[in-house]
């Protein structure tokens, strides 16, 4: 008689893994608890290498963004200063007798003066 696939499976189900006696089970569990009690408690999870890289990359990105804003701010200031000086220079040429002080505080006044002068077609 040839054994079929199902016959073999049926035969396999006729046996089961030998179970430990309750005493053996208790002994293993007891030993396990002893091992657990003597083991050092786990410290907080340490970040792995990937975390270190992530932190380093974040810091680098923050620095780059910060330095970029500094450049933009500096450029803007430069541009404004240059524009103001040009305006003032132009105004001084039109009104040489007027006292001009190159100061950011007076820039708006100078600008207004220049506009008025241009409107009056000097």
């Amino acid at each position: 008689m040839k054994l079929t696939h199902e016959d073999i499976e049926e035969q396999l189900r006729q046996i089961k893994p030998r179970a430990l006696s309750p005493d053996q089970n208790k002994a293993i569990f007891g030993q396990l608890m002893l091992e657990l009690a003597s083991a050092k408690p786990a410290t907080n999870a340490k970040p792995n290498l990937l975390s270190y890289w992530a932190i380093a990359a974040s810091l680098l990105i923050c620095f780059m963004l910060w330095s970029q804003t500094q450049v933009i701010s500096f450029s803007t200031q430069q541009f404004q200063n240059t524009a103001q000086v040009e305006q003032w220079s132009e105004a001084k040429e039109i009104f040489p007798e007027q006292r001009w002080s190159i100061s950011p505080r007076t820039s708006s006044t100078a600008n207004q003066n220049l506009i008025i002068l241009k409107q009056m077609d000097f």
């Binding site: 696939h5 396999l12 006729q14 046996i15 089961k16 786990a42």
Partner: protein
Amino acid sequence: MISPDQFRSIFYEVSPKLLGYIKTMTSDATAAEDILQNVFLRFVQALQKGYEVQNINAFLYVLARNETFREYHNSQPNIHKAATSDPIFEIADHASISLHESLELEEAILSLSLEQREVLYLKIYSGLTFAEIAQCLSISINTVASRYRYAIDKLREYLCSETKEPHHEANP
């Protein structure tokens, strides 16, 4: 993290099948008990480290497998051989086979390769589906199915040669 009571109930529920699995893989009852302890130690350590375990059964089987193979690679080059005289299996309740047949079947199981033995145990005695086994072993379902089929074929050959069935001898 789980409470001590939960841990105890998990241990008593899962350890018999897990121990059977490790014994089947190592053929060594003493080594199997040591490995079982390591498995539960690693389980607790994983929980302490904040590892979120979705499926405790599957997780424990993966730990048992890793520990068994680690032990195998470290110290037991002859794991394929049946090194113990202590039976790993016993006759199931309501079974109709004799002790001799049971031992013969055990011998047949231990004659399988480690991979075939593993799939066979997980399918028949742990009641896992092919998909679950594939997930546990990180292999494809097709590989699991073919290992299982080969294991059954090999068992058939082994049992037929042992019982000296007439279809092997009486060829015209």
